[in-house]
């Protein structure tokens, strides 16, 4: 009975989504103290400047701007299309990729540099083999 293995509360969709099981989830970056480069996921060495042991965890902003995107009309079987695959630069550093939601998937409606916010929601109902729910992040036009 796979459902029995499920833990209580959602799991994070990626390791760098923190606090998935709380009411204060956030995206964690790892920032180089030498050059300021921001990475996703833990590391000890900076790939921008090669500095060692100068990396520390930072909480990334939920505010950002749309840097680039595309509109996906064909994906793998079972994946709902169309959707907007978006690259967002966060205020204060860090770039993340995700789905841009709550806007029509129409290039006429989407503007480069439009302000967006990061929102945390269930991962489109996707569960792992043990029946766990996941918390994911999405972008939506800033209010």
């Amino acid at each position: 009975m796979s459902e029995e293995k499920a833990v209580s509360g959602p799991l994070p969709v990626v390791t760098w989504l923190k606090g998935a099981n709380t009411n204060d989830p956030y995206i964690e970056g790892h920032k180089c103290g030498e050059c300021g480069a921001v990475f996703l996921g833990e590391r000890s060495t900076c790939s921008a400047c090669s500095a060692r042991d100068s990396i520390s965890a930072v909480r990334l902003s939920t505010k950002g701007k749309l840097y680039s995107y595309c509109i996906v009309h064909r994906s793998f079987p079972g994946i709902e299309v169309p959707y907007i695959s978006a690259i967002v630069d966060l205020e204060g550093g860090g770039t993340i990729k995700g789905n841009l939601i709550n806007i029509e998937p129409d290039p006429e409606k989407i503007e480069f540099d439009m302000p967006v916010e990061v929102v945390f929601q269930d991962a489109l109902g996707r569960k792992d083999k043990d029946g766990n729910n996941y918390l994911s992040y999405f972008f939506q036009p800033a209010a």
Binding site: Y67, C70, I71, V72, F76, I87, D89, T95, L124
Partner: protein, 380 residues
């Protein structure tokens, strides 16, 4: 260090050969390149083999098991879509190093159909369509849209790349397709990832290409009349750039390789008579006009509009039909584009011949990332 020459080079007509094995497909091109050089496998001192799909399955040795087990050293390499160029470059380096005088490089691939990339992996749940898209058409669409944000490049301009390359392929009997695709047809084809329609995505095909590389000493001994000189061979990986780990940066890796290649060859972009570049998607080709210095930054849209990159234009790009229409058998592509440029430099490209071609450039990108660039020169 010795100069390096291509003495024999060829490719099979790209297509779908599910009834054949990968080594059988590779062996075909190997024999064709040996014949083109007037040599046999017994003359080869080493084999450098590029293949992705069976990267751990000793494809090079299995090619020798098809055409002659002479006991020479074999290097199998895999470097995403730069695999063929990497195998060729390893062969080039072995001559530069003075270790060998005559070696064979083979690139081969047998592909399935459908989308590449986006498979995900890792723990938990599939991320495709949840955290954006990792499919190749989407990744290269996003790279194209970055150009659009900087310079206002339009869907129509991206689509014109595909019109041009499909037109070129009608003149190339070794291309997968020889079909004209007018602008409306390209733009109205099934949208895969905006702004790339189906006709703006490279074709998954099976194929192989091979080259015989020799030292200057060997070239003089065997005859230089059809030899092609390798003026530059460069391989780079992606240097750090701000968004590279989230949005693969195919620009910086290409610019770094191009700068090194021009320096090594002692030529500039203005000296290049034709280019075979990595048009895995129509959006990608536009970026590389600028990355390779064929035009200034922001001028790529104008360049495709003005026809400068068509056969007969100032610097024809992908007169073979490119990956978009000749086809893209991943591990073979980097040697197939060396075959194409060499054929023009030899004056043997028939209907698609770039008149008076003396210097040509080949370029491939393996996402993740690797960039391989070669500059070749006619010596006839």
């Amino acid at each position: 260090m010795s100069e390096v020459f291509i003495l024999g080079v060829d490719m099979i007509k790209f297509g779908r050969f599910p009834e054949k094995t990968v080594p059988q497909i590779g062996a075909q091109a190997a024999l064709m390149a040996l014949d083109d050089a007037g040599l046999t496998i017994k003359d080869m001192e080493a084999l450098y083999c590029g293949n992705l799909g069976q990267a751990s399955a000793m494809v090079g040795q299995r090619i020798l098991q098809e055409i002659g087990q002479t006991g020479i050293g074999v290097v199998n390499c895999s470097n995403a879509c730069a695999t063929g160029a990497t195998a060729f470059r390893e062969a080039w380096m072995s001559i530069k190093a003075g270790v060998h005088d005559v070696v064979l490089a083979v690139g081969v691939e047998q592909m399935g159909k459908g989308l590449l990339g986006g498979g995900g992996g890792g723990a938990g749940i599939p991320k495709e369509g949840l955290l954006g898209s990792g499919t190749m058409p989407a990744v290269f669409a996003e790279a194209g849209m970055e150009h659009a944000r900087k310079y206002g490049t339009t869907f129509e301009q991206f689509a014109k790349v595909s019109v041009k390359n499909h037109h070129h392929s009608t003149l190339n009997p070794k291309a997968m397709y020889q079909i004209e695709t007018p602008l409306e047809t390209v733009m109205n084809a099934e949208m895969i990832s905006y702004p790339n329609t189906k006709l703006m995505c490279s074709v998954n095909v099976d194929g192989s290409a091979a080259a015989v590389l020799v030292s200057e000493k060997k070239a003089r001994e065997l005859g230089m009349s059809r030899a092609v000189k390798v003026r530059a061979s460069v391989l780079t990986s992606d240097p750090y750039s701000e968004r590279d780990l989230v949005m693969p940066d195919v620009n910086a890796v290409t610019r770094k390789a191009a700068a090194s290649a021009y320096e090594m060859a002692g030529v500039g972009p203005e000296d290049v008579d034709l280019v075979e570049l990595h048009d895995c998607f129509a959006t990608a080709e536009i970026l590389h006009y600028e990355n390779l210095g064929l035009c200034g930054d922001g001028e790529a849209g104008r360049m495709i509009d003005d026809g400068e990159v068509e056969l007969g234009g100032r610097v024809p790009v992908n007169v073979s039909g490119g990956l978009l229409s000749k086809g893209h058998p991943l591990g073979a592509t980097g040697i197939a584009n060396i075959y194409e440029v060499s054929t023009h430099l030899r004056g043997e490209a028939d209907k698609r011949q770039v008149e008076g071609a003396r210097i040509g450039m080949t370029h491939v990108i393996g996402l993740g990332s690797a960039c391989g660039i070669h500059i070749l020169e006619s010596v006839a």
